[in-house]
Each structure stands twice: as C-alpha cells, then as structure tokens.
C-alpha cells in the first residue's frame, strides 16, 4: 500500500515541479494520501538583504492529524530539508501551539485540521541572482488510527528585484499562522529530573491560569501521566512523571503553556545551567572514606555517653571490671559484646540500604517516625527504669545489677547486651553520627556497611580496651555500695527519656492517644510491681498471670486507630520551610537560615533553645535581615529528605546559611549561642550585603 502511495506522491511531485517553471508565490497543492500540502511565500518579489516567511500549508482529511516537534508517544514530527541558493538560510519551523491527542494509554502531540508551519528565510544583502529558487523536501506522517508516512518536494521561484512585493493573496494565511503560534514570553524557567519526576519552576509574577503544558523535548515526560500545575507566590510549578525512555536531560527546550489568554511559549533551562551549589554526586573517594571511617569510630565512642545509653553501658562496664573471671573470659565477653553491637549496626545499615534501594528517602531516626516504635520504646525504657529503681528484678534480662548477666547469661548475654545497646542508642543520633550516616547513605553498599560497622566498633571500644588493658580500669571508679545507689539514680535519666518519647508520641498521635499510652504505662507499672512481688515470693502464680494480662493490655493501648489531627506547628519567628520558598528567597538575594528539625531530635531542640530562639540570635537575624525557614521532619517528609541528601545528610539537625554571592554554608550540628552571629559576621565581612531600596 505504501509503495503504491509513494509512487503516486512522486508522480504528483513531478507534476507539481513541471508546473513550477513560472514564478509564483505558491508551489501549488501536492496531493498525498489523506493530506494535501502546498508551500507558500509571503512575498511574490523579494530583494537582497530581506527576510521572508515561507509557510508549509497542510490540509489533512477530517480527523487526520500531523505531529508537533515532540510527537509524543508515537508519531513523527514533520521535517523540512531545504535546498537553497548559496548564502540564503532558512530558520527552524515556528510551530503552532499543539494539541494533545489521546489514544489511551498513549498521548500524542499534534495538529488536526489545516496546519501552517512557518519558517523564516534570510536573503543575504549581496545576493546577486535574479531568481530565488527554493526547494523543500518535506517528510510527514499523517495519522488517524493508522499512519501514512509521506515525502514530497516543493519548489518556489521568486523574482529578486530592488523592491519587494508582498503576496497579498496569502496575507490571510500568514495572519492565521501567527495567530496559532504561541505568544513568546520573556519568563525565566528552570527544570530538573529527579526521582522519576520532571519538575519545572517558572518565574511568573502574575498567575496566567495555566491549564496544560507541552514539553518540546522528546522522551522527557510521560506524556499520558497527569500534569501537576500550581501557581504560588509568583512562581509556576509544573510536575509530571518522567518518561520511561528518558535518558538525557537537554540543556534547554521550548515549553508551551495553555493559559487563559491563549498559548504562550518560553524556554526552560536545565537546573545545572544556573545552579550555584552542585548537587551531590555519590563518587567514591578512598581518602574521604578513610576519614569517614575514623569519624564513625569517634562517633560510636561518643554514643556511649548518650543519656539513654549511658546507664545501661556503665552497668555493663562495672560488671566487666567486677567480674571474678579470668582475663581470657573477660576478653571473650568484650568480643561478644562488640559482635552484638557491630552486627546490629550492620543489620540497621542493611535495612537502610534496602529502603534506599526501594527508592525510599529514609533517614536515620526513621524508626522514630513510626508512632508504634516510639510508644514501644517508651514502654521498654520505662520497664528498664522500674528495674533500676528496684520495683522488679529483670533476672532473665540484660540489665540486672551486672553479676547475673556475666555469670548466668555468659556470652549470649554479652551479645544481646550489645544488640540492645544499639537499639537504645538509636534515638540519640549524636552530632558526630549525622555526618557519617549521611555520607554512608550516598555511598556504595560496601562502603556504607563499613561505616556502620565502624560506628559499632567505636561504641564497643571502651569494653575492648577494658578487656585488653585491665590497667584502663584504674580510670574507672572502684566498685562498692555506691553502685546500688548509682543504679537507682540512673533510673531517672531513663524516666526522663520516657517522658520525652511520650511527648514525641503525643505530637504524632494527638492527646487522646497520649492519654491511652499513659494508661498503658500505669498498667505496665502495675505489671512490673506484681512481677516483682512474685520474684520476692510475696505473691502467687495468679499474680504472674495478672501481670501478663496487664502487660498485654498496655501494649494493646498503643494500637491507637487514627493518628490525631496534627496540631498547628508553632513556628515562632520562623517561617515554614519549603523548597519553593527557599529558592525564591535565595533568588531575591535574601540571606536565609534553613533549620531542619524534628520533635524527636533532642540536639535540634537544645540548639534551638540555646542558640536560635535567643534574644541575641533574633537580634542578629533582624540586623542582617535574615529570613529563617524551619523544616519539620518529625513525620517523614520526602521534600526534606531530599534536601538533607543534598548536603550528604540523612538525619537532622541541619543548619544551612545562604548568603547572597556565597555558596550555602552548613553550620555545625551543635550550635553555641554565638554560632549564628559569628557566621553572619564572617559572611558579611566576606561579602557585604547590598541593601535594597
């Protein structure tokens, strides 16, 4: 069929060419299958040095269509190959605004009905010929349900004279063509492709009521996917699923927007073209890795001092020193404990990597974004605290006064103490851990696992030192009766940890759920007390059963069906962070402080109290006209996870200071009351602010 058609087209072309021996402003109609076409000039006589317009005029049969420069999921854009006299140049096709042609599940972009494709032709001023011979070989695909490709040649001969003469017959055609073209707008727009999404931001001071957009780049967006269009504070935000066949982001391309006032045209630049801070590319560097390993060991060491770990670990340390066992045995214990710690870290890393592989933006501390985990952890710490207070003896547990664990539980006990130490440590993402973890999350799997293992080694280090250099123990206080008192004292940090966890739980689940959890805590207290009575042989077996029922009941109370309505976040002098807001402020040349925080992050809260929400910091913010944006990561927010990742972080806190003309500066994770003021002073001495009028 197509061969026959092609022969037919060629015959017609020959005929058309034969008719073109005379000068005319049209090539005459070329009739092909389901479409007729002509090439038309807007001038009948032209002069050297002028620009003229040529229109390729398509009239397809009813409901047949041809394609836009991005044809969409199938189809083929019309193309023109010009053959022109030396010096004469032709511009690209000035495409009319396309329409989306939906053939579920596919979408094409093209034109139904008569279509005019205009190109500019430039004649050099030194053009000497008396005739301008224009030849165009045009390829098109015309489709309804089926598609018919065609190729045809068109020829035009225009007289070259001293004065050009407009082709009045076709004025209307060119007028129509310009009406159908999208109106070019001088708007700045940038786009990026991340996480399988195309996103673009266009600076648009006035809302033009955009109803649809057309991306001229092929294989960039999933054409059939829904388009997300929002106008917010002078910016147009566009979003669409990325195309399955996407493989390279073009530096720039045309974007057509359907607005209330008709289609408009602008250019989108790739984000890398204007970005000041390079996005993090996970390139593996051996030196960085070694440094990070060392940092991770130090971070792990410091974990031992965290309030929620310290009571557990100090007891373990004391028991190790106290034990009457041989040095050999002590070494084995220390090794088993270390194995427990390291393995737990590696296991956590594996889970983290699995989540990462699943494309989830998961950060350290993600355990604490699950209310059930928060509640359970509060219960666990409460029971541990009760046992420290002496209400119940966890005879089979790992936190007994020390002797039992080492003597009765042996190596297994040591191993599980290590495991539990890590579980209990997880809420206390120490400042040193943040950096190492963020780094690990962007690294190849083996490097990430090694970082986590190093954290574990760091955490186990004091015990290994104790086992191998018993002299180290002289650094530790001598055991005695004070230990029992200390044990009871150590219950109180644990109770405080419980309060803090319950507060987080309340923020996540609401007041009602919190009341239920507190009721659960009372039941748990009763269960422990009964169990303690049983241990002292002051109660019968029934009490044990009752204790068990109470325990189950208390856990059941954590299954609060619906998370409570989110309370309004108090933002005090801060604005709520959003990517758009930050981008806007930075583009406006504003100094900006970004604070990424979460309710369960103690470091964050402390930093805010001592260093950010202070009068002196507020005064510094006012002095430098600093905008303060706060992002809340209490419940997992993918936008914030992405932002953290940009700074190689996988956890909060993160403080970033943006100063016009300077790369974003990351402030330390532990802020002092002077940190902000000093950083601002330094930046302003480097690059004084230009105050806006």
């Amino acid at each position: 069929m197509s061969l026959f058609q092609r022969i037919l087209v060629f015959c017609l072309v020959l005929l058309a060419l034969a008719l073109q021996s005379v000068q005319a402003q049209t090539s005459g109609w070329v009739k092909a299958s389901h479409l007729k076409a002509q090439l038309v000039s807007d001038h009948q006589d032209v002069r050297p040095g002028q620009k003229l317009k040529l229109a390729l005029h398509f009239i397809p049969d009813e409901h047949w269509h041809t394609y836009w420069q991005n044809p969409g999921d199938s189809g083929l854009a019309t193309s023109i190959a010009w053959t022109l006299p030396a010096g004469v140049t032709a511009g690209a096709i000035q495409w009319p605004a396309p329409a989306a042609i939906s053939v579920p599940p596919l979408v094409n972009y093209g034109f139904e009905g008569p279509t005019i494709l205009v190109s500019d032709l430039t004649i050099p001023s030194d053009f000497s010929g008396s005739q301008l011979q224009i030849k165009a070989k045009v390829d098109w695909l015309v489709c309804k349900e089926i598609c018919i490709p065609a190729e045809a040649s068109f020829a035009l001969n225009l007289a070259v004279t001293q004065t050009s003469v407009v082709a009045t017959d076709y004025l209307q055609l060119f007028e129509q063509a310009s009406q159908r073209q999208p109106k070019p707008l001088q708007l700045q727009g940038r786009y990026g492709v991340q996480n399988q999404k195309f996103s673009a931001v266009v600076q648009m001071p006035e809302d033009l009521k955009v109803s649809a957009f057309f991306v001229a780049a092929t294989e960039l967006v999933d054409h059939a996917a829904p388009q997300q269009i929002d106008w917010l504070d002078g910016e147009l935000l566009l979003r669409q699923q990325q195309n399955t066949y996407f493989n390279q982001a073009p530096a720039s391309f045309d974007l057509v927007l359907n607005t209330a006032a008709g289609p408009v045209l602008l250019q989108l630049q790739h984000e890398s073209a204007t970005q000041t801070s390079e996005p993090i590319v996970a390139n593996f560097s051996l030196l960085d890795w070694m440094v990070m390993l060392a940092l991770a060991v130090v971070g792990g060491l410091i974990l031992n001092l965290m309030p929620c770990v310290f009571p557990v670990l100090s007891l373990k340390a004391v028991s190790l020193v106290n034990s009457q066992n041989s040095a050999q045995h002590t070494k084995a214990e220390a090794l088993w404990y270390s194995a427990g710690v390291v393995l737990s870290f590696v296991l956590l890393a594996t889970v983290l990597l699995a989540f990462r592989a699943a494309g989830q933006a998961v950060g350290w501390g993600f355990q604490l974004q699950n209310p059930l985990v928060v509640g359970s952890l509060a219960y666990l710490l409460f029971v541990l605290a009760l046992s420290l207070s002496g209400v119940v003896q966890l005879g089979l547990g790992w936190m007994d006064s020390g002797q039992q664990l080492t003597q009765h539980q042996g190596y297994k006990g040591s191993f599980y103490t290590g495991v539990l130490a890590v579980v209990v440590a997880s809420p206390c993402t120490a400042p040193f851990m943040g950096t190492a973890l963020g780094y690990a999350a962007t690294q190849p799997a083996f490097a990430a696992l090694a970082i986590f293992a190093a954290l574990g080694i760091g955490m186990a280090l004091p015990f290994l030192l104790l086992a191998w250099w018993p002299g180290f123990s002289s650094w530790l206080p001598k055991p005695g009766l004070w230990m029992e008192k200390l044990k009871q004292w150590l219950a109180y940090p644990l109770y405080l940890s419980v309060v803090w966890l319950l507060w987080v739980y309340g923020r996540q689940q609401g007041l009602d759920a919190l009341a239920l959890a507190l009721t659960g805590l009372v039941l748990l207290g009763a269960a422990c007390w009964l169990w303690g009575q049983l241990q002292l042989q002051q109660a019968g077996k029934v009490s044990g059963l009752f204790a068990l029922i109470l325990l189950i009941g208390s856990v059941g109370l954590l299954w609060y069906p619906e998370p409570g309505a989110q309370q309004l976040k108090k933002t005090d002098h801060a604005e709520v962070w959003s990517e758009q807001r930050l981008k806007q402020l930075v583009q406006d040349g504003q100094p900006v402080l970004v604070n990424m925080t979460a309710d369960w992050c103690i470091t964050c809260l402390v930093n805010e109290r001592v260093a950010l929400d202070t009068d002196s910091s507020k005064a510094a913010m006012a002095l430098y006209n600093l905008k303060y944006l706060k992002g809340d990561w209490t419940n997992k927010d993918p936008a914030i996870s992405n932002y953290l990742r940009q700074f190689q972080r996988d956890g909060v806190p993160l403080y970033v200071l943006y100063w016009p003309g300077q790369p974003p500066e990351v402030l330390p994770q532990i802020l002092t009351p002077d940190s902000l003021r000093q950083a601002l002073e330094q930046l302003s001495s480097k690059q004084p602010l230009i105050t806006r009028q």
Binding site: M1, S2, D73, S74, G75, L76, V103, P104, P105, L106, N108, D139, L141, C143, E145, I146, C147, I148, P149, E151, Q196, T218, E219, D222, T244, Y245, F246, N247, A358, G359, Q360, Q369, P371, Q508, E562, P563, A565, Q566, N635, K636, D637, P638
Partner: protein, 198 residues
Amino acid sequence: MKLKLALSLSALCFASSLFATPQVGQAAPAFTLMDSKGQSHSLADFAGKTVVLEWSNHECPFVVKHYSGNMQSLQKQFGTEEVVWLTLISSAPGKQGHISAAKADELTSSRNAMPDAVLFDETGVTGKAYDAKTTPHMYVIDKKGVLQYMGGIDSIPSAKVDDIAKATPYFSDALTAVLAGNPASPAVTKPYGCSIKY
C-alpha cells in the same frame, strides 16, 4: 493527618514501584501468552536464554520499513540456540493490526520471517507492563530474566528504508553486547513508529 499523608504517599511510592514502568537492570515483567500455533509461552520458560521481544503491526509503515529485509536479517543473524525471538501483537480485537493466528502464520511465511513464536496480547496487559508504545518496539532480556534493552530498533525515526543503513542499529548493538555478557549501551532509546492499538 500529615502522618497519614506521608504514609499514603510512601504507600503510593511503593505501589508505583511495583506497577510502574519496566526498568533496565530489573527483572523483566512476567507474561504468559498464546502463540499462533495455540501454544502457551511464559517468559519463565526461557530462563537460560536471551529473549528478544518485538512488538509488531504488519500494516504499520515503520514495521513495513524494517520488514523490507532488515528485521528478517536480524532474526537470521541472531537465530541461534541461545536466542528466543518473540514477535508480539498487542492490537486489541477489532482494532487495526489485530490478526488471526492463521494470518500471523501466513505473514511469517510470506515475509520470510523467523521468529520463534508470534504471541497475541489481545488484552494489552503485557504491552502495558512493558510500557510498549510503538511498532516496532524492541526489548532484550538476558538469560537471568533481567531487562537489558528497551527502545527503538535504530536511531533514525523515519519510515524510509534508505535510513536503515544510515542509522545506528541500537537494538542489534544491544543484543550483541548482551550475548557477549556486557551491558547494552545505550540501554534505553526512543522507540519510534505507529502507536500500539491497545
């Protein structure tokens, strides 16, 4: 509320990763389809062999272009024991390009084609699972069932036979690389042709 939103969002992400588009380097979507001889074939049946999927529609000019000799010579060149070549037709009944089993066999013999089987995907489920958009549209799946190439048959999107010689043969290069145990480069290209008539 926010938590609920975050949860449903992550559920959505998870769901979309389950049902979304195929990805090179991931397991190719499984399928079980009838061929023109009335025999059922599953992707799993071909474990240990490299599988080629070719979406086709015999009337589509882009398919006609490549069945002017190029497709047959590719089928012949790669017609070894270790390669299984499956031609798929996803045109729905009543839609253009939908053909009977007898017609499919007739086309195979009249075109001197050498696919191992011509499979019918009348529901379009398999085509959509592969995000197949055009005819022709080519896929290469390695011995382990991992998708290694998806996209166009070559680099020049046209219906002109002359362009075949000028084009970079993406599909042929990819299949050669995969058979040698190397990754295809490029592994994802723009498919071109007629839309599949789902």
